[in-house]
């Protein structure tokens, strides 16, 4: 039930990501919705894994990247993408740094650095505002590894109940 709830919220965040991305809204808003999609998806996968409490899942971090890392060994997902095992593993591996970078855009993980919600101060004393900051990771999303990440974020939502959660 909770896994489904987190999935539904992730899907809604995903739809908003698509809207603000297509409309080329400021980087921070695009990335905020993508970060929230990944965060809630990661928690949904953890809850479906039934090994930790709901509270622990809520407090977990970088869960989506960790899910991808484990899912890179899943033959079912591999076949959906029509790749060999080694191709699929390499395919996922190349997108892990971007997945982590996106998850670390959450203020709780940004450690007073670049994040998508609140202004921050860089070591040289300059104050940055998310709304006017150019986030390098957004550029990476237009490159092959980033485009593949976007594709798999959509795919795992679609296949959630068939492959990754017990109904």
């Amino acid at each position: 039930m909770w896994a489904k709830a987190y999935l539904e919220q992730a899907r809604s965040d995903w739809q908003m990501w698509r809207v603000v991305h297509d409309q080329k809204r400021p980087d921070c808003h695009q990335l905020h919705y993508l970060q929230m999609t990944c965060e809630k998806l990661g928690k949904a996968f953890l809850i479906a894994g039934r090994s930790i409490s709901l509270q622990q899942a809520r407090n977990s971090h970088i869960a989506f990247k960790r899910f991808l890392q484990v899912a890179s060994r899943n033959p079912q997902l591999q076949r959906l993408l029509e790749m060999t095992a080694s191709q699929f593993h390499a395919h996922i591996k190349q997108m892990l740094p971007i997945a982590e970078a996106i998850e670390r855009l959450a203020p709780a993980l940004a450690q007073d650095g670049p994040n998508v919600e609140y202004p921050w101060e860089s070591p040289n004393g300059q104050i940055h505002i998310p709304a006017s900051y150019s986030f390098p990771v957004l550029q990476e999303l237009n490159e092959p590894a980033g485009l593949n990440l976007i594709k798999i974020v959509g795919l795992v939502q679609k296949e959630f109940f068939r492959l990754f959660a017990k109904i």
Binding site: I52, R66, R162, L163
Partner: protein
Amino acid sequence: MQTATLKKATQELGVSPEDVVFYNKLGNKAFIEINLKLPASHTTDDTETAAKIIENHDIEKAVKFLAQNNFEVEDGLERIIWLRHGAGDTIRLIEVNRNGFPTGRVEAFYFAPYEEVPFETYLSDITPKEWQKVLSGEIPLPDGWSLDDSKEFLRSDFEVASVG
């Protein structure tokens, strides 16, 4: 339930459950194992035992498939622990991965059954340091998980073609 499993297994192999118990030259490893474990004068209970052995054989085959696959694709995997105690028809694995992301917990992800692994699988990826903490009890296992009757697979147990 176990008898049904035995019936299904034997039907797939084209023999009867009685064959499983009495014939010892079928050339099938599962059947040879059964014959080694069953007494000559079998009872219904022995047939149930045979069903259980087939069941275990199938799940072990699936776990070995997973272990082989995972060692091949993830070069950071040092060992895979199959936690059998209380798991029933589900597979619980802890994979000790040098490339893992430490969380200080044993967090599992669920994977649905599929052709080669027709069992629900719960897979947790932890670092070697976390594994040491699991062994020392500093990191607890999830509720219901136990290292009792667990089985460990090492990379050296498999012929692994590294994919780098």
